[in-house]
Amino acid sequence: MSANHDVRHYPGAGLMTTVFFLWLYAPIVVVIWFSFNENRLVSVWSGFSTKWYTAALANDALMDALRVSLTVAGIATVISTTVALCAAMVLSRNSDLRFAKLSETVVNLPLLLPEIVVAVATLILFSQLEFTNGLLRLIVAHSAFCTPFAFLPIRARLQGMSADYEEAAQDLYATPFTAFRRVTLPLIMPGVFAGAMLAFVISMDDFITSNMLATGGTTTLPVYIFSLIKRGTTPELNAISTLLIVASLVIATLALALSARAMRRA
């Protein structure tokens, strides 16, 4: 390829890139910067302090919300990833499956539906069933909408993996289950891991459904943060946001490193 075709040499490309990254990251930088502001007013800088972090960590309501979010996300991740793994196995390893195309569409459809519609529908269904346990309602709903997100990377990984390995395993006297456990699963692990991470993040991040289904004592983190904003932004909110950013970065880095290692071995 000649240098002329490299987009970096287009006029204005450098400026565009700078503007793009500023637009993307400036708000985040501002949040982190002002989380260390000593002043009560968010936009007036009056000196460095970590007191808002102390306040955030001492906030029981916040910690409760975090606990609810982690519980729901943890359980929903396990359930949705398991369901997605089963669906992907069936769809990828049965050449003569009837309604294969339709089944795949049904699994993926929730990605295309507006979440508010699904949330309202879920709320109505749960009321009809008189299903009132707040935490369980969240877990069931989150497991459902996380499944297609977990499904996509697992399915991609399975499709990219030759069926030869599974056949070789069975040829070497492994029962179908042993072949799955000792050969297929380790080889698609990067996909399963990516799917689980995606499901976890989607669940942690969810606001619409969680807000709709929230009852007393089952406020998730996003729902709690939103309620804080309604009372006006405080520096404490900046501190909470910064902690969330750091936690996300740590998790994302860990995930990338782990999946890169798994990829190298596969």
Binding site: E167, Q170, L172, T178
Partner: protein, 357 residues
């Protein structure tokens, strides 16, 4: 079961949807035999092998292993192992673990397993590599490990699907000899799939030529080469000249024929129904030039020459027909004939095969 029959394939057909991949295929493979399935790409070799391994079910017919019907057994219950074309070594396991995998599933005790793995690594000259992973090996080394892994559980039959096709030329020749030696040493029945006629002729005890989903001929390498049963086999195995001929009369497996070259003689025939048009096959190396011309002698003109080292290939035109002639360069200064030169050609009656249309 008659003694000594390792695999019996009886009337096996395979349909993929409406496409018939195999049509009424029957053969038996003897114990300790190096048996080759040879045919062009897409003729159904892999499908046949996968049916013996258990990855495909025959649409019709039966397959037996040492007398026991296995067509309905899943792959993990058949005492048959496969060397896959892609090798399919497990990338997340060391070579040792790869070889031990089958033994673990069979429930071998740890000490016995370790001894067997060491023995297998030794057999394929890879003992120093036990702890490595497959991605740290060259193509030839992977091939060896795939063999060791498949041989470790002492299968009743070893299936090999074009195992040499991914190797470069030199290595391929060396692996041919190694495979053959390994088969003799272990005494295991090998079913070897290839589309390479040289490989098949070189390595096999018997060859089954497949074409268009049907068996074209089964026989020893020299049977297949010297006595092709039909035009497909004569054409697929080695190079040959096909000439239009007219059968004047038939006498058992001998035919009195008249050729377009104006020669009339008696030759062995296969599949000719009666007098009339037929095809004769004459191998390039069976035609003598000049002082080597004997039997049915005629003249022609050299049209092209290709020096191949051990041989020189000529195209010789006679009576509007171009014949491929191959002459061995036996002496270091063997005479070579220039293009345009008139030469004497000759072939013996017994070199000709007359084939049905």
């Amino acid at each position: 079961m008659r003694r000594g029959e390792a695999v019996e394939v009886f009337n096996v057909s395979k349909m993929f949807g409406t496409y018939q991949a195999l049509d009424q295929v029957s053969f038996t493979i003897k114990e300790n035999e190096f048996f080759t399935l040879l045919g062009p790409s897409g003729c159904g070799k892999t499908t046949l092998l996968r049916m013996i391994a258990g990855f495909e079910r025959p649409s019709e017919g039966s397959i037996s292993l040492f007398g026991a019907e296995i067509a309905s057994l899943p792959p993990h219950k058949r005492h048959v192992n496969t060397v896959f074309q892609s090798y399919a070594l497990f990338p997340h396991m060391s070579l040792e673990q790869n070889i031990a995998f089958g033994l673990e599933n069979l429930g071998w005790a740890k000490a016995k397993r370790q001894a067997r793995v060491a023995e297998m690594l030794e057999l394929v000259h890879m003992s120093d590599f036990a702890k490595r992973r497959p991605d740290q090996l060259s193509g030839g080394q992977r091939q060896r490990i795939a063999l060791a892994r498949a041989l470790a559980p002492e299968p009743q039959v070893l299936l090999l699907d074009e195992p040499l096709s991914a190797l470069d030329l030199k290595l391929r020749q060396a692996m041919r000899d190694e495979l053959r030696a390994l088969q003799r040493k272990t005494g295991i029945t090998f079913v070897f799939v290839t589309h390479d006629q040289d490989e098949a002729l070189d390595m096999s005890d018997r060859i089954c030529v497949l074409g268009q989903g049907q068996i074209q001929q089964i026989g020893t390498p020299s049977d297949i080469y010297e006595e092709p049963q039909n035009r497909f086999v004569a054409d697929f195995i080695g190079a040959t000249n096909f000439l239009e001929a007219e059968v004047v009369s038939l006498n058992g497996d001998q035919a009195q024929i008249r050729t377009a070259l104006g020669l009339e003689f008696t030759a062995a025939q296969k599949g000719v129904q009666g007098p009339g048009a037929a095809t004769m096959s004459l191998r390039p190396e069976k035609i003598g030039l000049e002082e080597q011309a004997s039997g049915n002698v005629f003249t022609g003109t050299i049209r092209s020459r290709n020096y191949m080292g051990g041989f020189t290939h000529y195209a010789v035109e006679t009576a509007g027909i171009t014949l491929q002639v191959s002459r061995r360069n036996a002496l270091s200064h063997a005479e070579s004939y220039d293009i345009g030169r008139e030469v004497k050609l000759g072939f013996r009656d017994e070199s000709v095969r007359v084939l049905g249309q």
